[in-house]
């Protein structure tokens, strides 16, 4: 070990340590950077980050229509099998039989909020909601059916 | 009996009791801890005599240094928590005899010796004086013992380094041999 490297090591060590202390010192003096939420107190005006993921939901429009075609892409994408698509046969106005979803069963108790199903969906039928108060007394209540009863597929979505 | 005497007897009792305990206990770690208390008791007696410097050195060298070293060597070598085997009877008798002889010798010396009252002027135990006395080459100076001890420590340090280095070289050699042997075997 030569003397130059020795002194350079000490210098580099010191400057990098000081850099770290500058960062924490900045946070110490700037309290507005604090990101902790006082949760039960500010429950009414809670501000969640944009990308917070609480559960999978299927948005419906006012005519009780969703965009799900039943392509099963989400079911295949899910790494731990928390989505199950159940089909039914529907008659189109022309009298043809058409495959449509009966139930889109979503097991919240298995879900890890990995977002892979939302990314896999070709027709943007499901998305992540920001609700997070999921505690229930009965585990069965965590098995949810995402499409509303009597809902139909939106026109123009194939 | 003044307060000062009471404190002396308390310190002496601490020293003696923990000394006796350190030789009678069969847990080696406890023996080390009791030895430590003995050393601290002696340091306390130095404080009582107002030899603060000696007391501090006693704590640094014996309690802080040697006792910790002993505890470390116990950690590294002994099975923690196991009792030592019981000593044989003849060993017990002989060690008691040795202790008694040593005690008798010391007591005879102490009782026979007349402690003359020192007429030398009292030196203030300030650091300055201690430092000057330590490096004093005239009579009653401590330059020679000081230097001899520092030579001893230097020799010990060099010895440590030599031992550590030789071990390392042997390791290297065996490693190289291993490396050479592997292609031959395969």
């Amino acid at each position: 070990m030569n003397a130059g490297k020795y002194i350079r090591d000490i210098w580099n060590g010191f400057t990098s340590l000081l850099k770290g202390m500058k960062r924490t010192g900045y946070y110490f003096t700037h309290h507005k950077e604090i990101i902790t939420q006082q949760y039960p107190d500010n429950r009414n005006d809670l501000k969640l980050p944009e990308r917070f993921k609480g559960e999978v939901v299927m948005p419906h429009n006012e005519k009780n229509e969703h965009r799900c075609t039943g392509c099963q892409a989400c079911e295949l994408a899910c790494p731990n099998g928390s989505i199950k698509v159940i089909f039914k046969n529907e008659l189109t106005p022309e009298g043809k039989k058409k495959k449509a979803i009966d139930k889109l069963v979503y097991h919240l108790e298995l879900c890890t909020m990995c977002n892979l199903c939302v990314e896999a969906c070709p027709s943007d039928a499901i998305k992540m909601a920001q609700t997070f108060e999921h505690s229930v007394f009965d585990r069965n209540k965590l098995t949810k059916i995402l499409n509303k009863p009597e809902s139909k597929i939106m026109d123009g979505v194939e | 009996m003044t307060g000062s005497t009471i404190i002396f007897y308390l310190l002496a009792a601490l020293t003696l009791v923990s000394g006796v305990l350190s030789v009678t206990t069969r847990h080696i770690f406890r023996a080390a801890i009791y030895l430590l208390f003995t050393l601290i008791g002696i340091a306390g007696i130095y404080f009582w005599m107002q030899y603060e410097f000696i007391a501090a050195v006693q704590i640094v060298v014996y309690a802080g240094g040697i006792a910790v070293l002993i505890i470390f060597s116990i950690f590294l070598t002994q099975q923690a928590g196991e009792k030592l085997p019981k000593q044989k009877m003849e060993r017990k008798i002989f060690s008691a005899l040795a202790v008694f002889c040593g005690f008798a010798l010391t007591m005879v010396q102490v009782l026979q010796h007349e402690f003359p009252v020192s007429v030398a002027p009292v030196t203030s135990p300030s650091v300055n004086d201690i430092g000057r006395q330590m490096l004093n080459v005239e009579e009653s100076g401590f330059a020679l013992p000081f230097e001899v001890i520092s030579m001893l420590l230097l020799a010990a340090m060099v010895g440590c380094i030599v031992i550590a280095m030789r071990e390392k070289r042997e390791n290297l050699n065996t490693e190289q041999k291993n490396i050479k042997r592997i292609p031959n075997d395969t």
């Binding site: 902790t36 | 847990h27 801890i33 603060e52 410097f53 704590i59 910790v68 950690f75």
Partner: protein, 358 residues
């Protein structure tokens, strides 16, 4: 204007008027003991809440905020909880040593408090070897850790004790050398002399760069000696659960916890006394008005201000730096701190002989 030394003198005079010498001394010892214990309890409360708040703000959190205004009584609640908790002794432990260890830690911390000057002329014991006494007694604190680690009869505890032993023994060297730097400049070990020598300026300003290097070495070494992060190898939550105090609970754990914080306070007080002038106010050269204004601030405020500044610095280290590995820790000491502080001591000796300092 009344000060700590005046109060102490008044009490002393009143007691010596009422009683004879022996009883005066006994009463003074009792008062001093009660004051020390009170100070310990107060320090424990203040430093724990300070550490939690500092750590929270440095990690962009809020910290304790439920008990009392802004969570300021959190450590009181913690104290109550620790006091009513059961103090267990494990089945396989060496019971005597296991129960003795926390008290040794506490006694060592108490002994260290004796020579510290909390205000000008306010000291429990102005021993003539002050600094040597402190470094001697602080070397005993490792004993309690070794005792606790061994007596717990637990592998984590033993490992923690071994690590902290190696750590404290080696970092004592550079702490001692950096303290020696100030002793070389002052020429005395007595705390009152060291403080008096800084009446015209603190050593960190008077001693040029070598004293600043000594100060930095001192801070690093005492951080290691008090077993605090980034040198908390003895506890190392993520590796050894809690190191030497894994098996402790209730009040015995609280004693270890308190001893750690009191030790931090003591080393910071010593650092403040040696390098930052202890109870001496800040004086700048020839600014008469400024110096005069500074003299109005009581000396105890100066002392506690400097000490808490150093404590904050050590907390800042703790919540910024990651923990070192044991080999990195020993390399830092033996390859960097020790040679640097030795050369630095040589420089300071030359400076003291040639009178280059102010």
């Amino acid at each position: 204007m009344w000060s700590f030394s005046d109060i102490a003198n008044n009490i002393h005079n009143w007691l010596s008027n009422q009683f004879n010498t022996t009883w005066t001394m006994i009463f003074e010892m009792l008062i001093a003991g009660v004051c020390v214990i009170g100070l310990f309890a107060l320090l424990g409360l203040v430093l724990v809440i300070m550490e939690r708040k500092v750590s929270a703000w440095m990690q962009i959190r809020l910290g304790p905020n439920r008990v009392g205004p802004k969570g300021m009584f959190q450590s009181l609640a913690d104290t109550v909880k620790l006091m009513v908790k059961e103090g267990m002794t494990p089945w396989g432990a060496d019971k005597t040593l296991f129960n003795l260890a926390p008290f040794i830690a506490m006694i060592v911390a108490m002994l260290l408090l004796a020579p510290i000057a909390f205000a000008s002329n306010f000291q429990l014991w102005d021993i003539n070897i002050g600094v040597l006494y402190v470094s001697a007694v602080s070397s005993l604190s490792v004993i309690s850790i070794l005792m606790a680690g061994w007596a717990s009869n637990n592998k984590y505890s033993l490992l923690g004790a071994m690590r902290s032993g190696a750590q404290i023994v080696s970092y004592e060297l550079s702490a001692g050398l950096s303290i020696l730097a100030i002793i070389v400049l002052t020429g005395d070990l007595r705390f009152s002399t060291i403080i008096a020598s800084q009446a015209d300026g603190w050593w960190i300003f008077k001693g040029h760069i070598p004293v600043i290097i000594a100060f930095i070495t001192f801070i690093i070494a005492v951080t290691a000696e008090t077993n605090r992060a980034p040198f908390d190898m003895a506890e190392a939550e993520s590796e050894l659960t809690a190191g030497f105090h894994t098996e402790y609970s209730g009040m015995k754990f609280a004693l270890f916890f308190l001893a750690e914080y009191v030790n931090v306070f003591i080393v910071c007080a010593i650092g403040a006394t040696l390098f930052l002038g202890g109870p001496m106010p800040l004086h700048i050269g020839l600014w008469e008005g400024f110096n005069h204004a500074m003299d109005y601030i009581p000396s105890s405020v100066w002392f506690f201000g400097k000490t808490f500044f150093l404590i904050f610095l050590i907390m800042w280290f703790r919540w910024t730096f990651p923990r070192l590995r044991i080999d990195q820790l020993l390399r830092l000491e033996w390859k960097y701190l020790l040679p640097i502080s030795m050369i630095n001591l040589l420089l300071i000796t030359a400076m003291a002989i040639l009178k280059w300092h102010f």
